[in-house]
């Protein structure tokens, strides 16, 4: 694919902003290319826009909206997909489900999205064997400065 800007809802997207999900999302392997977009104003929420299907996207969030501490382990499979090398910046994002006109908002802590920001690679991982669920409720942010939670990313062997 030649170097191009892609028009997405009237906004141009550069190749360098595109995050590649080699295996797509879980259950949606065809969605391999995404771009992360911001909403207006300070918010831990972002919009993950699909470039394979321009009609759809996901609301994603910093884990702080659902947990003040969040600990994940990347197995070898995930480390390979993310092409992790020493010093790379990793970002963990939670897929948010909004139901009932905003009255029910939950986060999927069982299947977080991990992005290697340094290499524009992403994947969704499965935290099998942890007590997390796909329907974690919003938690109340107790104080300012809690916009980013304490996220630990471990490397499995």
């Amino acid at each position: 694919m030649e170097n191009e800007s892609t028009a997405v809802i009237g906004i141009e997207v550069n190749e360098k902003d595109i995050i590649q999900f080699e295996k797509g999302l879980i259950g949606m392997p065809e969605l391999k290319r995404f771009v992360l977009m911001d909403f207006e104003g300070p918010t831990p929420l972002h919009w993950l826009q699909s470039l394979d299907n321009r009609e759809i996207g996901f609301v994603v969030s910093d884990p702080t909206l659902f947990a003040d501490e969040y600990s994940i382990v990347l197995d070898k499979n995930a480390q390979e997909m993310l092409e992790i090398e020493k010093g790379d910046e990793l970002v963990v994002m939670i897929v948010v489900t909004v139901k009932d006109n905003g009255r029910e908002i939950t986060g999927n802590l069982l299947g977080p999205i991990v992005v290697n920001a340094s290499r524009r690679r992403g994947c969704q991982i499965v935290l099998d064997g942890t007590p997390y669920t796909t329907k974690e409720p919003l938690r109340r942010l107790k104080k300012t400065g809690e916009e980013k939670s304490n996220v630990k990313v471990g490397m499995g062997v």
């Binding site: 809802i9 999302l25 879980i26 259950g27 949606m28 909403f39 918010t43 929420l45 919009w47 826009q49 321009r54 009609e55 759809i56 996207g57 996901f58 609301v59 909206l65 197995d75 070898k76 499979n77 995930a78 390979e80 997909m81 897929v95 948010v96 489900t97 909004v98 139901k99 006109n101 905003g102 009255r103 908002i105 999927n108 069982l110 299947g111 969704q124 499965v126 099998d128 796909t134 329907k135 409720p137 919003l138 109340r140 942010l141 107790k142 104080k143 300012t144």
Partner: protein, 81 residues
């Protein structure tokens, strides 16, 4: 579905490099060991399906994007105490 009967410590090979071993059997539970190349992921099926279901529910039409955000922002749960 291919059905094979194995005893403890017996193995099954899938493709050429995925090996499944029966490690122990205890009443109604079987412990299974899986060796697979690094690019192959292995998970309990129900966990995988739960995430697929959650992804489907979370997926939004782009036309709803801004509406959804204002709904979330207005949601009481997001306001600090």
């Amino acid at each position: 579905m291919l059905v094979l009967t194995r005893k403890i410590n017996e193995k099954i090979v899938i493709s050429t490099d995925i090996v499944v071993t029966v490690l122990s059997i205890d009443r109604d539970q079987v412990k299974i060991g899986i060796e697979a190349p690094r690019d192959i992921s292995v998970h309990r099926k129900e966990v995988f399906e739960e995430i697929i279901k959650s992804n489907r529910e979370a997926l939004l039409d782009i036309k709803k994007k801004d509406n959804i955000i204002s709904q979330i922002v207005k949601s009481k749960s997001l306001h600090r105490d």
